[in-house]
Symmetry: C2
Subunit: 396 residues, 2 copies
């Protein structure tokens, strides 16, 4: 059995990977309702000022602030109400000295006015109001362009669209948004020992329930992609080659699990020209990548680490996504150790500033993934961190 002659350092392999991939040029124009979680294909510039006009932030009286400066409780200022409008209406009146216009929250500020007095602060009598205290210029007014200015970049290319982003787009008049096409990601599972359905006899006879497919589908969906499942293949070099070749033509990326090492039934590296094969990550060392194809482990926990350390970043590169990771600072509740020369993916449970390492570390143990919600990386030149040390956790 061959072993890896040299393990490529984690970051060196990541750089090879990202340099090999280009952003997908394809753009889709989708309705705002369907754009949640999609990645913005280009900067968005506002076509209008928002609000498009100065408007009242309260129900009250639009007036000239200067008129109210002398107002005192013992000596109120009286203004004449010359018009009354509701929110969607506009007053044609001009607020001249000594006058006011009654309006509702959101209504356009009439000509001449520069402030709004809250309704409950005014004493009304007939068409007069009494103002008891001075009103500052600009008070209770949202001026034109205060939220967004015409021509301003309001969202940047690469933004993963959230509910509030869609609201901003709609508020300046967009009905659709241009997002990146979802990368198609072929998923190929290999291994004679795998079964897809529960079968007690088969399990007794040494078979294993396959679980990487559903995990990878979910991860691909979560990170901007569209999974295409090519099934569970036997350890047959010809079959695997044929399906990998087909997947390469149909997908932007291909993930092949099982057979990434150099065992007798590890085939994938034989017919893909790999840029790297074997990196310092643990678990997941035997990962390989070339020609858009990831050759991955068979063990779920190793596959999971390989996905987060490499595949996730590849997908983000394909769509140009920004801010797709949540990185938090945390205090370790226990020490974690690592072998020098390994880039260790330590699963932790993060909660309110504290990270508790999950001790089960076998690469086959899915329960350790379920008990964790993030990871701490221990780089190659470190033997680990002490209890109480502050570390960075990447949440998943």
């Amino acid at each position: 059995m061959r072993e890896f002659k040299r393990l490529t350092p984690y970051r060196e392999a990541l750089e090879l990977l990202l340099n090999d991939l280009s952003e997908i040029p394809d753009v889709e124009e989708v309705p705002l309702d369907e754009a949640l979680g999609r990645v913005l294909a280009e900067d968005v510039v506002s076509p209008i000022d928002s609000p498009p006009f100065g408007r009242s932030a309260v129900d009250g009286y639009a007036l000239r602030a200067e008129d109210t400066f002398p107002a005192r409780e013992y000596s109120p200022v009286e203004l004449r109400v010359i018009d009354e409008i509701t929110a969607g209406d506009v007053s044609d009146a001009t607020v001249e000295p000594g006058t006011a216009v009654k309006l509702m929250t959101g209504a356009k500020l009439p000509e001449g006015a520069n402030a709004v007095l809250m309704q409950e602060m005014a004493e009304r009598e007939g068409d007069l109001i009494r103002v008891l205290r001075p009103v500052a210029p600009g008070q209770n007014v949202a001026f034109a362009g205060e939220d967004v200015k015409k021509g301003e970049v309001i969202l940047k290319k690469g933004q993963v669209l959230r509910p509030q982003d869609l609201a901003l787009l709609k508020s300046v008049g967009f009905k659709t948004v241009r997002v990146k096409r979802k990368p198609r990601v072929g998923i190929i599972i290999t291994g004679d020992e795998l079964i897809e359905e529960f079968d007690e006899e088969a399990l007794k006879a040494g078979k294993i329930l396959e679980s990487n497919s559903v995990m990878l589908k979910g991860l691909v969906e979560r990170y901007f992609g569209e999974p295409i499942f090519y099934g569970v293949l036997p350890d047959d070099e010809d079959v695997i080659k044929e399906v990998v070749d087909r997947a390469k033509t149909e997908s932007d990326l291909v993930l092949v699990t099982g057979g990434s090492a150099f065992g007798d039934r590890d085939f994938a590296h034989r017919f893909v020209s790999l840029l790297f094969h074997g990196t310092t990550i643990k678990p997941g060392r035997p990962i390989g990548y070339g020609e858009g194809v990831f050759v991955m482990s068979g063990y779920p926990a190793a596959v999971f680490a390989q996905f987060h350390l490499y595949v996730k970043h590849a997908l983000a590169k394909l769509v140009g996504a920004r801010n797709y990771e949540v990185r938090v600072r945390a205090t370790l509740t226990d020490r974690v150790s690592s072998q020098l020369g390994r880039y260790e993916f330590v699963k932790v449970w993060y909660e309110n500033g504290r990270a508790k390492p999950i001790k089960k570390r076998g690469s086959g143990l899915i329960s350790s993934l379920v008990q964790s919600n993030g990871y701490v990386a221990i780089p190659e030149n470190s033997e680990g961190y002490l209890e109480g040390e502050e570390v960075e956790v990447i949440l998943y």
Copy 2:
């Protein structure tokens, strides 16, 4: 204009809300592929040990560790290879003293063996291997039940299902999972001033582009719900009453935006019996709730705060979701201040342990939502936090 006689403290209102709601009993059985993000309806118990048998974690030779204890490089131990199997196969052989079975990663450990020697550590010659160093019992073996034991609770009710959770379910034989039905959430937007499509003339005439609908749809989807949009209604009490009544019968929750204060066109509180109306939150003070109906503001930033402070928790209660918020510790880059008596929702940009307050605070400013990715709450009894102070940020 009436004002709120008393603002209910944030947490008191939240308690009234959550006590008024019950978990939805309805359960759906969905295929694992379609369960991402859904909420587990009940504890899940593993029907099997996983792995179901002791298996090899490497390609190598299954043997009795005791046989190798005397092994030294200058005095190797020789064992006879009595069988060779691949991962999905099982050896019927029993490993007797002085013998070994060649196997692949994942293969079932044969009878008699209690450890595996890595292939590259053995010198093979014909049907003999030479062992140069002692092998410890259990080495390179994953024992039965090491990941999950039969009868063990592997996932708890209320878990929001992640890719790794689905993998664990599949690995112990499940093809489907029982999740809570998605709560149906009616969304009703009110306001004469609102338009749904860009129209320059209408904007000049004082109309406003409506944006709460797309934001609320996105938020509802993100927090376990199924949005049902009832459209944008004019400020007509009869129309609003009719649609709210219909939505109440068709939905688990109803969100009505606009008209939550006591202005001349604020209707919703007149025909819903509210448990509270007006709370200490800022922005978003005029929120009301009763009979499954939220009466909300018209301003997007106020609606957004109301959603995160109240509606999100209501949805989580309906489905019994756990761990649906990401709370992180952060150092404030600037001071933030608040009025005593207000529960202030301060938008921040969180990045790697630091929280930068977004200074635009107007309740109508959607750009402030877009520039933020979380909030810091300043409770009623606090006037704020200092620059450099450590605070809790809830990410969104």
